[in-house]
């Protein structure tokens, strides 16, 4: 995009600056719109599974429900508890929201259509997702209230635990792709399954990793059935108990942006990202822009997330910890060894 601005007669520095800002807006604005619509979709899917109608009053089929909710929280009063630590109380939702947007900088939307094509892309995602815990922990402490504090402690332990296994799962993918760059990972999946299927999910060694990544993703974003940080039967509303108005809305948006990010990562790492699902030109299959494929895959994974939320009861906290440390961690570690051994034999011919 920088070249376009240079062609308009700007100096390189300004062109680069304008291109970056334009790129950020081009990702962030549709993402916010997408979050609003995905909240509506979540409620509709959830309602359908519970044999209800869901939101159907505001706008045609209730499509504008999220915007009505947004307007409502925007007009509410921001309440800051008198015993709260004011600065941290206000900065916590901002951290959650910002971090949820940051990781989208390295998600490739099409071949080369990525805001920041860095060669440590996947590590960047891991680094950013490890920051997500601070918004919750700071909120819990700064609220100076018991339930938010319990929730913050739970969130800290939960997010750290599942990040460990997510790290090992990502290592498996990186070993196969041979790169940390997201575009290179997508390209490496082209025709991975017998030259026909685009995506690592078709691989027997990586399919279990994908299942674990999906489940860990739910735990990492504190989505049901792992939403113990906001378990309403125990902790009122968890870390956001004391929040109202826009501060609450920022948590809301951040949470769903994170869920969308996890869906996007599932698509990019295991299902071929912006590539079509099959590598054969059935219909003019490669004429369809990559963004459409990525979007369809994200929606597919979001449907799975919603489906799980609608059908599965909440985990108990000790079971959550057991699943993370005693099941996922050993299995993912074993698969790192298996995958590197297999690649050593098949790809590098048994020599280091």
């Amino acid at each position: 995009m920088t070249e376009t601005f240079v062609n308009w007669g700007l100096s390189y520095d300004w062109a680069w600056f304008l291109a970056t800002v334009a790129g950020i807006l081009l990702i962030a604005l549709p993402l916010m719109l997408g979050v609003a619509m995905i909240i509506y979709a979540d409620r509709k899917i959830w309602a359908a599974m519970a044999l209800r109608r869901g939101p159907n009053v505001v706008g045609p089929w209730g499509l504008l429900q999220s915007f009505a909710d947004g307007l409502k929280v925007f007009l509410q009063e921001t309440i800051i508890p008198s015993a709260a630590n004011k600065g941290l109380f206000l900065i916590a939702p901002i951290i959650t929201f910002t971090v949820a947007l940051l990781a989208w900088a390295v998600i490739p939307f099409n071949s080369g259509a990525v805001l920041s094509d860095i060669n440590v892309g996947l590590l960047y995602v891991l680094a950013i997702s490890s920051l997500g815990v601070y918004g919750v922990v700071i909120a819990g402490w700064a609220s100076n209230s018991k339930y938010p504090f319990f929730s913050a402690m739970r969130a800290a332990a939960q997010m750290i635990s599942y990040e460990v296994s997510i790290g090992f799962i990502l290592i498996c993918v990186v070993l196969y792709a041979g790169s940390f760059n997201m575009n290179a990972i997508v390209e490496a999946q082209r025709g991975h399954g017998f030259g026909i299927v685009n995506g690592y999910w078709f691989n027997l060694l990586l399919f279990p990793m994908w299942v674990m990544f999906l489940i860990s993703g739910m735990a990492e974003t504190a989505r049901a059935p792992f939403d113990l940080t906001e378990a309403e039967s125990e902790l009122v509303a968890g870390y956001q108990t004391e929040y109202s108005s826009m501060a609450f809305a920022l948590y809301w948006l951040g949470e769903y942006a994170n869920v969308l990010l996890m869906c996007a990562l599932n698509a990019v790492l295991f299902f071929g990202g912006w590539l079509p699902p099959l590598n054969i030109d059935l219909i003019p299959w490669f004429e369809i822009p990559g963004v459409v494929w990525l979007l369809l895959k994200i929606l597919f994974f979001f449907f799975i997330f919603s489906w799980v939320k609608a059908t599965v009861p909440r985990y108990r906290y000790d079971q959550l910890m057991r699943l993370g440390w005693k099941v996922f961690l050993p299995i993912s570690l074993l698969f790192v060894v298996l995958v590197s051994g297999w690649l050593m034999i098949t790809r590098y011919g048994g020599v280091a």
Binding site: D13, I118, N119, V120, L123, Y124, S130, L131, I160, D318
Partner: protein
Amino acid sequence: MIQVLAFYLFAALTIASAVLVISARNPVHSVLWLIVAFFNAAGLMVLAGAEFIAMLLVIVYVGAVAVLFLFVVMMLDIDFSELRAGFVRNFPLGLLIALVLLAELVFGIGAYQAGRIELATGTADQVTAMADSNIAAIGQVLYGQYLFLFESAGIILLVAMIGAIVLTHRDRKDTRPQNIGKQIRRRPGEATRNVKPEIGQGVQL
């Protein structure tokens, strides 16, 4: 231009947050300033072209170590007046440590200005390796040149971890932990029984 601006921004923020770590009254604020300092140090690493180290700094220090710090500090019930009571008593010791650090800094900068030590001269293939991506370069050094040192460091860490677990783990006999396998194996037939109590008899448990 933008690099220079970014360098001074990150450097100033690192120093400012480091000062705030020791001057903040609340220990939780101290930890949070420490995190800001880590983050800006990562920014400096990116500017120096060491993006892999920068990401590791964020993942390991900000994502794990500082969360643990924060976790502990938040749960501690700290009496601030008691914390400040020992200030005068510990002041000479603190001053001594500060002087030692200052001397080290002076020596370090002096030695740096005198020129670098020629421990090992880089060969041509090492230079090309460094021109590659960061991760590949570090991997080639760690798993090639320093393989045995690296692996023995790994083994020492493993032994330390197992040692810590063995030393602190107590097998308590008075608790009844959950046996997941046993619970899953249990079938309704073993757990319930049908009884037809006669009137006025009740059920024998």
